[in-house]
Amino acid sequence: MQTNNWTNRVGQWFEERAGVSETVAALLHVDIPKNAQTLYLGGLALFFFGVQAATGTLLSLYYRGSPEEAYDSILRIMNEVRFGWLIRSVHAWSANLMIIAVVLHLLRVFVQAAYKRPREMTWLIGVLLLISTLGFGFTGYLLPWDQRAFWATTVGSEIAGSIPVIGQQLLELLRGGTDVTGVTLTRFQGVHMLILPLTLAGLLLLHLFLVHRQGLAVPPQTPPEKAKEKMPFWPNYLLDELIAWYLGLALLVILASLFPAGLEPKASPLSTPAHIKPEWYFLSLYQALKLAPRIIVLLASFVGLSVVFFVPFIDRGPSRDPKQRLGWLIAAVVAVTVIAGLSVWGAIS
């Protein structure tokens, strides 16, 4: 066929110059453990990040990052721009689902002790990816410049300001001054649209490179003979992953349609709402600060985060058997229960 010939010729033209097929083959045509149980969480996090990049790019075409214009530009996106409401609502929901996917992915890897040698570096970068994702959420929350955005950022940055010794400097660094102002908005916009995407994309490439290089870990209970069973990454595994992504997409469409992203009245530093709360993923910290002395909460959070970050170097035993890691698993259950409990408490109080 003439068309076939034409496409083949274009393909060959590229192949001669870029040699893409070799790279694609190296990436796709690999065998992975047949019994690896990823639960597709890492892939889903990647999918939601892709959605964020696409919808965020579209939103940036209409968004204006100044206190005078930000609110009205969001209102315009929601009311006038064709499918603007859908793009923004999907962006907002995808942000939440991405955080959930990243946290669940981290928990899955922790439970399977997949961070152990030789995957320590993958874990470290993974934790940094989680922190970057939370940073995305924190900075993005302010951009609509409505009351909820303004005051959640005020409360959220107060938490940072309560850190001993460096707190005040950190608060002023975040806000670009002592208060949340237009300077803060510009700063958050820059971090949200430039610094964090570059950071996260770089970390993500490293993460994927390491995953590709080390392969997937099989669950610790898998019998040795089953652990050796392989299947092709393409198309077998990727098809499953694609199904998971489509399910994620369906969930996004449903949430965005039934619960589109809202917009409160325009931010007013002079009008404090009755109930100010940070985003849900900071609620546990917010509630803990209400209950216990500031220094204890911050110290506990710092120690907790350090333990999570350095767990491959603390839990150095070779065994991945859950029975021999009972202490770690119980600690994880307790930590998750406490964080979830505090979050619910913070939400309803």
Partner: protein, 565 residues
Amino acid sequence: MKEKKPMTQHHLWRMLAVAAVGVIVILLTTAARLAQPPIPHDLTGRQDCLACHEQGVNGAPKFPANHAGRTNDMCQGCHHPAAGAAPTSTPPVVPTATAGAAPTSATGGPPSIPHDVIGRDDCLVCHATGQAGAPKVPDDHAGRTKDTCRTCHQPSVTQPTTVPPTPAVLPPTPIPHPAAGGKNSCADCHRTLSGKLQQPVTDWEGSIHAARNVGCADCHGGDPTSADPNGSMASAAGYIGAPDKASIPALCGSCHANVEMMRQYDLPTDQLSKYQESKHGQLLAKGDRNVATCFDCHDGHATRQTNDPGTSVYPLNVPALCARCHADAALMKPYGIPTNQYDLFKSSVHGIALLKNQDLRAPSCATCHGTHGATPPGFEEVANVCGSCHSATQDYFLKSKHASVADGPKCVTCHGRYDVGVPSDDMFTGNGQRQCGQCHPAGSPQAETVKSLYTAIHQAAITYDQAGKAIAQAASLQMIVGPEEEQLQQAKTSLLTARAAQHTGQLADVSKLTGQAVSISQQTIQAAEAKVAESIFRRKAMVVAVVMIGLVIVALVIVKRALVA
């Protein structure tokens, strides 16, 4: 007519006999009286004879058993002061020595009072428990009240007895303001006491006066640098004790009417002159001691700044403050004024806003009646008083025929005085109290205008409510309704302005405004309904999208199965 008979000898003898009997009775009575023991002491301050003579205390002769049942007012029927009983004579000798270190009188009578008695009317405050080194009341004085002390004990210090008459207009009183040099021995001493002697210091310590270094001596005089109570509270040191009530406004005014002194605190200085013009001030000048002075409203010694929520004159507390006197039926009886104002106010729209919602924009008693110049506004002034807040409504009202008619209706006629309620469109209908029909009977031209006003405003209100419901429905579907809510505010403004403009009674003006309200409300309804339609479309589109995604998933599953097979 009866003929007058000449006096006979028989008649003459009879008259002489009667006169002789009368003389004998008088002589016998006088002799009997002269036979009673005379009163050997001065009677000043000793009206209660029985206080000493009933039990025979302080060496006073106990009255005989046959005097049982006789009262104080009967004593001087028989007993009279002896000719030599000079005003300075001393009471009978005190047989007991329980007075301790207290100095006795020169003639050995009961101990004299060694200190000034100005401001020390209640001896028992100190002497009942022996506070501040005062001799404790002896045991045999048990049961005696503070009113009986001066019957026997007299001050040894000469007191200034002349009280300056209260002038009709009270000028600021030049009080000593002695140089205290940072000392306040009054507070130092009274802080260590208890009860009534300590309370003023406790109150003062939390006051704005304490914070601004206005001490006890600035109002009470005396020497705050002296640690000796007899020196610090000596009349020679300018000590005046508790200031007379009539002099309190002027005393406060000695500072608060002083422009130079008050400038540094950015306080007004017209309180005294306003008070003198007020009902309270006028009555006080006439000698009425029931009226409120500065001390009564500004928390006495604990006076604080008026923006302090704890002070009685803070706007939220003012109604209860005024009610302390004005809700007291017994206190108000002589003035013939009602006492239900506070109860009426509490349930009024103003009272609910101020007391329940703590909305400081709402008026308290002082807003309408004035603060220091408190005087009830006259009927003609009412529109101005209400108009100080409801200025737009007042402007409309002043353009109306109601305002131009002598003795025409004022704000209170339709809205009430203390019990102002939430105005409703029902005021246009019916002929009950506070309704238009009360004055304008059905069929009159004015009643027709009222009916048209009602129809225009009521229709605008209904359309406005419908717009609100349409917005609520769109919001319940998670749609952003900020612009629609903003639009509805414009309709609300037009409706509120129409309601205010109806005070002119001009139908054309009101109809123009209600027309605007209806038009904007209808636009809002359309916009909100478009949002609802958009939400329904989104949900339908969502179903289509989810079905398509489902089909793709099914296709992928089929491909996967084929691949595995």
